[in-house]
Symmetry: C2
Subunit: 204 residues, 2 copies
């Protein structure tokens, strides 16, 4: 690493690319816009990342690799199920509230190029089987009612992610007058989602 600015430039590019790609997607993003936002010449993008595709992959891997491992908060720790659930939901909603375009970005891109996914999931270090096993144990112990663990996990994720993915639509529908309150509403859901799920699965 000879030059002083290399890291700095690369970081500026990654930051700008992340921002543009997440908002516009691969198809809507323009290399010139990324260069402008990074405050550098467009040719530099190719000097550092060869092609738009390569730059995009770097961004997607980074984003995907940061967001997915949080799913494992459902199993890490030996706290009771109530706390595990709370940890996952709160953490996810916090991240997505700050990055509301993330869910739709990921949905968009996995539909555009699904082949890419399998490897991506393996690299992300998540282990779905581990979550399934955890919930099975809770069912066997009689703490929560019996159901397909995959249903339960997908329900938890759906309730946490979709309201943010659908924010433009849902806030317009239910908060017409005061769309600004939607973020506050989402924050409250850190509690209400957990309650909603526990009411459904807990055996009293």
């Amino acid at each position: 690493m000879t030059a002083i600015n290399k890291d700095n430039t690369e970081e500026k590019i990654l930051s700008a690319a992340r921002n543009v790609f997440i908002h516009k997607g691969m198809d809507g993003a323009r290399m010139q816009e990324i260069a402008d936002e990074a405050g550098i010449n467009k040719a530099l993008l190719h000097y550092y990342f060869r092609s738009k595709q390569k730059l995009f992959e770097a961004i997607f891997k980074s984003v995907f690799g940061k967001i997915m491992p949080n799913v494992m908060l459902m199993v890490n720790s030996d706290k009771p199920i109530e706390d595990k659930l709370g940890a996952f939901i709160e953490n996810y909603i916090d991240i997505l509230t700050i990055n509301p375009f993330l869910p739709t970005f990921i949905l968009k891109e996995i539909h555009r190029d699904p082949e890419f996914l399998a490897g991506m999931i393996k690299e992300s270090g998540i282990n779905p089987q581990q979550i399934i096993t955890m919930f099975k144990q809770e069912m066997d112990s009689g703490k929560i009612r019996k159901m397909d663990p995959r249903d339960l996990i997908i329900n938890i994720i759906s309730l946490s992610v979709f309201p943010i993915a659908g924010k433009p639509l849902l806030s317009e529908m239910f908060f017409e007058k005061d769309k600004a309150n939607y973020d506050e509403f989402i924050l409250k859901r850190k509690v209400t989602i957990k309650e909603f799920i526990l009411h459904s699965i807990l055996i009293k």
Copy 2:
């Protein structure tokens, strides 16, 4: 309407455009690809719809106008809450199973151009307040426990839509070996989602 083929051509265009736009989105779609899929000359697209933007709006309005009114199944009819819930969920999952790209298409496009939404929602004929009122009555009558009706509605929609929007990701995660079974899994959810919700809200 002098010529015999006018309707036919317009339909061919709409059908091809719908297919291409839903899969690729506004940014990823190409007029040439739509023309090829319709089996006509590209200039005809402009003859009938003037511009890509206009053609896109025609498709989006049509799609949005067909999918959104189904939300009102939650209130139409004077059946008990269990049946209303079942009617909505079954209907939605049926439609989305046949059109799995629809949810992500809509999410994608409302993020790209949110301004367009407000008018779109009004035209769609849905009335969120009516759903809110319905659930409030069920709460007041002591049938279901008290909570923010908007939370409940958004939960119902999330549980129905997200598993299909996230199909490429979720099937890879939880059905690695047999991704084909994911559709079957979704169909079973017509029952399990309803149970999941009723377990959570019904007062015994």
